[in-house]
């Protein structure tokens, strides 16, 4: 047994701050697993998702929630889904594979991304400074999830509540991404 132990360090150290009633915090412990849909395997994946999570398979640009609300499924491409859930240990891919079986190909994406939760009345005003998408309540309804680019950084934006958004971007540029959102909040608060 090696003499060393390794502990996970969140990309942003668990950032959590309030800006005039709008909170921005790192979503620590968010597990993300990509599910690639095999060629011709759409129905099998849909059945597996229904069976395992009680969730419908979302279309590209949307997400759905599991029956218990604990798992979000984002359709990131015609042949790709992201399954997101809170999970602390580095075996998320095995967890999802265990639920969905041979229906898909699985890759643990947990450490590729940093997740930020933005929630509050300033959320849209802050995002419109860095995000080209129309996040109007009617145009970007609950559970909508789109890929976009913010300040040169690839991102996924999912609407998770009335004024709440889950923001995902690459973990290597997590600091720059946080800075972009934080700066926007400072500017609009």
């Amino acid at each position: 047994m090696p003499d060393f132990t390794l502990t996970e360090k969140p990309a942003l150290g668990g950032f959590d701050h309030d800006f005039d009633g709008t909170s921005l915090k790192e979503n620590v412990g968010l597990a993300i697993v990509s599910v690639a849909i095999p060629l011709g395997g759409d129905d099998a994946v849909a059945e597996a998702l229904k069976s395992a999570y009680g969730a419908d398979t979302p279309v590209v640009g949307d997400s759905s929630l599991s029956k218990d609300g604990a798992t979000r499924i984002i359709r990131t491409a015609t042949d790709q889904l992201f399954v997101l859930f809170q999970h602390e240990t580095p075996d998320a891919a095995q967890i999802v594979a265990g639920k969905l079986g041979d229906a898909g190909y699985y890759v643990d994406q947990t450490h590729n991304w940093v997740g930020l939760t933005l929630d509050g009345p300033l959320s849209r005003a802050a995002l419109e400074r860095v995000c080209a998408m129309n996040l109007h309540k009617d145009r970007f309804p609950l559970n909508k999830a789109e890929r976009t680019v913010m300040e040169h950084m690839g991102a996924i934006v999912a609407r998770t509540g009335e004024d709440a958004f889950l923001l995902l971007s690459a973990s290597s540029s997590a600091g720059s991404y946080l800075h972009a959102i934080e700066t926007s909040l400072k500017y609009v608060s």
Partner: protein, 980 residues
């Protein structure tokens, strides 16, 4: 404060102190700097661009050509700000520009006496000889004597931002048409953005005395804006200039957030918005134009509608005795409004033979005549009419007619058309897709007409978008008289008749240009500078065109028109840059060991967006070479650790993954067994090498490809293209895992011993159990999932170990702790580069996008037994000649001489020219292992010339070094170390 009238839309309970050229003045909340200056009796506000003539305020809006001032001071100083749109605030400091000595006694004013010699094109004709004088004498002199304001030359301390806004309908302009358009569109349920450049929305309604729906126009405007502001589907953006129309319904808009405040308090001063609209209704109004007569530029001469604005909105009069020159009904309205305000009228001069439209106590009423000339060097004193009559006046209001603001209709190459009835250009031809024009911008000048047209435009627009048009009715209003008989230019003998006040262009300049052959209006603009600079000729273009037409004996439409480009009004570079300044210019990607590297003296280098440790300096080292040499020697002697997280990592899965790899790689991948890694060479369609790297087979149908750092994105894009477009029937799926794994190269004779201290015991990483080019899923430090690859870039026995990136910081600390007993060192990209040159590995310097597998000595890797991308074109005869470049090693004959990358190779004694060029040096390094400088390079037929001595000729650095062609593998050519 001697010039205030009753009424107005200023807040007299909020006085504001400000200074102009250090002189203390006072205005009120709601004033602009211009109205504040007028209220304080300031006539001259600046000096003209070329002749340094005294100039006063000419307009009341963004079209102002004269009143350009510097606002604020120090680093916050902003030159060329139009006083007419600068809102007054407490403590504002403004200074005039473009004069030497005081504003009133500019010593450069003498240039005006030389004006007969300074006509249009003077510079082009005069400063030709001697040629050498242009940059050293002429240009510095011209630049110092002419021009506008000056930059502070300090870093701009303000912040700026950008934003993205979306709407169904964008309404541009908040005059009567804009208000009705916004209200009607909003009531239909459409999402509306309603923007206007003014702080106080309402457009001309705030400047006129018209009634709308039984209340004053300004009251109706305020009530309507309040109603719109209360609607959840409307975004009201005042102080926002929509400056450009772009493709796909996108409009550029500049919002001035804090320009009217003492301080920005850390918030962005201005925001450059991209407005994404489905439709746009342009209600930008119209701009009044002048009439060219002798000395029509004196302080006190102003556009008639602006005089009315100052009286009605700002409650100031620009003169105590005001004369009016008009060629249309509008001038009479100025007379009536001033008269009602109790301002003394000296005269109303109508150029038309018409019955007077009013009579005013004490005012001369003259029709069928015009103003020919004026007097008053520092402020108007009197005017002389064409009938010989001289009238004393300290202000002349000139009403030359109105030009619809068609600018945004032209931004996508639409050309306005001439309307004879209006004597003006109106929107014509193709408008930007989705745009509709209403109100004065469309040539509809009457108030009732504007209101109705705004409503109708909105109804048409929202119906087009699928909404039900609201039943909002336009409020009751009258259409005011607007008959015009154009007169552009009153001949004035020797006196100059100014057309473009900002650029000091007179009617003589226009005629001269015409006579010299500059008959196209576009050439006229460039020859005379008519219509350039901050106002872009808003008050001058049509006048200049008319004079050009007159000079050529043509009509205006026959003569043509210039069209307008963005921006409508000036946009600061800071606003265009937004927050992307300094370290915010672009994002940075950091490896998981970044913090540890900082703690350990790393110097970082930018590699794409990544920051990579370049070397780790130790106390006592004199420079980077000391650090790099130490890192190389220590690694080759014992063990070194390098963060290679930045290398692209692509997870590939699917039943056809192996077949797919066989297509995208030149060498065979079909039979790569699970647990094995293979070096792969990727070609472009044209047979040129695209990238190289390794691909590991983690399990059946599951591979992990590594790419170079720089090509991680392009290779991923290429693979995605291949699978989606070229091989859509293959079951293959890719996803980037670059950021997901913190990966470290552990290289050197003690690499295995070090790793055995962190890898969990159940994994055999001995040479037998885990040989060169092995890979596997393992665990480290008590169960943390990990990946191990037995690959080497340094040429040493080496591994790359990867852990999920959030463990990366702990992992580098664990590796370094485990390596203490072996004197392990971290090494950066410089040592990495040195060791790869010593080993003869190609990298970015060699994979230039011009080199083939054969050039790189890898021609044998292009499999003959299978097809792959690039194979066919790699067989082109010229790419396979005997004398193609080959990658070789090079060492100096005199080992004490350093080599230079970029040097070209020549035979000894050969002339340095392209014919004799043998190739070039791609990479060099001082090899601490060998003790001298070594290089890699491409040499014609180099693989057959080992042992030959040629010259490395470096024209840039003036070096000429004899080098010997050797094997590219300087270290361990048999590969014994890496297999140890």
């Amino acid at each position: 404060m001697t010039k205030r009238l009753d009424g107005g839309l200023i807040d007299r309970s909020k006085p504001l102190n400000f200074t102009f050229n250090g002189k203390k003045m006072q205005g009120f909340q709601g004033d602009t700097l211009a109205s504040g200056l007028i209220a304080n009796g300031q006539k001259i506000v600046g000096r003209s661009f070329k002749y340094h003539r005294p100039r006063g305020i000419f307009t009341s809006g963004s079209e102002e050509p004269n009143a350009l001032v510097q606002l604020r001071s120090g680093a916050h100083q902003e030159p060329n700000t139009r006083a007419t749109v600068a809102e007054l605030f407490e403590g504002l400091t403004a200074t005039s520009q473009n004069h030497r000595g005081s504003l009133e006694n500019d010593i450069m004013g003498g240039i005006d006496l030389l004006s007969p010699f300074l006509s249009a094109g003077f510079y082009y004709k005069t400063f030709m000889w001697p040629k050498s004088f242009w940059e050293k004498v002429y240009e510095p002199f011209i630049r110092s004597s002419a021009g506008l304001g000056r930059l502070s030359m300090e870093v701009d301390p303000d912040s700026y931002d950008k934003g993205h806004a979306h709407c169904d309908v964008l309404v541009i302009g908040s005059g009567p048409a804009g208000l009705m358009a916004a209200l009607s569109a909003a009531k239909s349920g459409a999402e509306v953005i309603f923007a206007d450049e003014d702080a106080l929305m309402g457009g001309r309604l705030n400047a006129e005395t018209f009634e709308v729906g039984g209340q004053s126009g300004s009251e109706w405007a305020a009530a309507t804006v309040a109603e719109l502001s209360s609607m959840s589907n409307v975004r009201v953006m005042n102080r926002t200039t929509v400056y450009g129309s772009y493709d796909h319904g996108i409009y550029g808009a500049l919002e001035r957030r804090t320009d009217h405040l003492v301080s920005s308090n850390g918030k962005p001063r201005q925001i450059a918005w991209k407005i994404y609209s489905k439709r746009a209704i342009l209600c930008a109004g119209a701009t009044e134009r002048s009439i060219a007569f002798g000395n029509n530029d004196r302080p006190g001469i102003m556009l008639s509608g602006s005089v009315r604005t100052y009286a009605n909105r700002f409650a100031v009069t620009p003169g105590q005795s005001v004369a009016i020159l008009t060629n249309n009904d509008d001038g009479w309205r100025t007379a009536a409004d001033l008269h009602a305000k109790g301002v003394d009228l000296a005269a109303v001069v109508d150029t038309r033979d018409t019955s007077p439209l009013g009579s005013f106590t004490g005012a001369s009423i003259v029709t069928g005549a015009a103003v020919k000339d004026t007097k008053g060097r520092k402020g108007l004193q009197n005017i002389t009419l064409t009938n010989g009559q001289t009238i004393q006046a300290d202000c002349l209001a000139v009403a030359g007619g109105w030009n619809p603001n068609v600018h945004l209709t032209c931004h996508q190459r639409g050309r306005p058309t001439w309307n004879e009835d209006l004597s003006a250009f109106v929107p014509g031809g193709e408008l930007p897709p989705g745009m509709i024009v209403a109100g004065s911008a469309n040539g509809t000048y009457g108030l009732a007409g504007c209101l109705a047209e705004g409503r109708d435009a909105a109804n048409t627009t929202v119906k087009d978008l699928g909404f039900t048009a609201s039943r909002t009715q336009a409020p009751k209003a009258e259409d005011e008289a607007s008959s015009v008989t154009p007169i552009w230019h009153v001949p004035a003998g020797k006196s100059r008749c100014w057309i473009d006040l900002q650029n000091d262009v007179s009617s003589k300049d226009v005629k001269l240009a015409s006579s010299e052959g500059y008959r196209s209006v576009e050439l006229l603009k460039r020859y005379t500078t008519l219509g350039m600079a901050t106002d872009q000729g808003k008050t001058a273009n049509v006048l200049g065109l008319a004079v050009l037409a007159e000079a050529q004996g043509k009509s205006i439409p026959e003569t043509g028109t210039t069209i307008f480009r963005p921006p409508y009004t000036p946009v600061a570079m800071g606003a265009l840059g937004g927050r992307a300044v300094g370290l915010d210019f672009r994002p940075f990607r950091l490896t998981p060991s970044h913090k540890w590297a900082e703690e350990n003296g790393a110097t970082f280098v930018e590699a794409g967006m990544w920051l990579r440790a370049q070397w780790y300096a130790k106390t006592g080292e004199q420079g980077w070479r000391d650090s790099v040499d130490r890192e190389v020697i220590a690694t080759r002697k014992s063990v070194g650790i390098c963060d290679v997280t930045t290398l692209g990592k692509i997870d590939i899965q699917g039943k056809d993954a192996a077949a797919f790899l066989n297509k995208v790689y030149a060498n065979a991948f079909g039979k790569l067994a699970a647990g094995k890694v293979r070096y792969g060479l990727m070609l472009r369609e044209d047979g040129i090498v695209m990238d190289d790297g390794t691909t590991a087979c983690m399990a059946e149908n599951h591979y992990v490809m590594t790419t170079t750092t720089a090509n991680a994105g392009p290779v991923f894009r290429h693979l995605d293209f291949c699978r989606q477009v070229l091989y859509p029937d293959m079951d293959v799926h890719i996803i980037s895992v670059t950021d997901g794994w913190a990966q470290f190269a552990v290289a050197g004779p003690n690499a295995r011993k070090l790793l055995q201290k962190v890898v969990d015991e159940q994994h055999d990483i001995s040479n037998e159990g885990f040989p060169f080019m092995a890979c596997g899923e393992i665990s480290v430090c008590g169960g943390v999932p990990s990946r191990l690859f037995r690959i080497s870039f340094s040429g040493e026995m080496a591994y790359e170990i990867a852990v999920p990136s959030q463990y990366g910081d702990d992992m580098i600390r664990a590796l370094m702790s485990a390596g203490e007993e072996f004197d392990a060192v971290p090494y950066g990209t410089e040592a990495l580069g040195v060791m790869r040159i010593e080993k003869g590995h190609a990298a970015g310097n060699e994979l230039t996008g011009q080199t083939s597998a054969l050039n790189l000595g890898l021609g044998g890797m292009v499999s003959k037994n299978k097809d792959c991308i690039g194979k066919t074109l790699s067989k082109r005869p010229d790419m396979n000649r005997d004398d193609v470049w080959n990658l070789v090693g090079l060492q100096p004959v005199d080992k004490s001489v350093p080599l230079n990358a970029g040097a070209h190779f020549l035979e000894k004694g050969a002339e340095p020219n392209m014919t004799n060029d043998l190739g070039w040096m791609t990479s060099v390094a001082y090899s601490p292992s060998l003790g001298y400088s070594i290089g890699l390079g491409f040499v014609k037929a180099g693989s057959t010339r080992k042992g030959d001595v040629i010259r490395a000729w470096d024209a840039m650095r003036k070096k000429d070094v004899d080098v010997e062609i050797v094997s590219a593998h300087f270290i361990d050519p048999e590969g014994e170390r890496l297999r140890a």
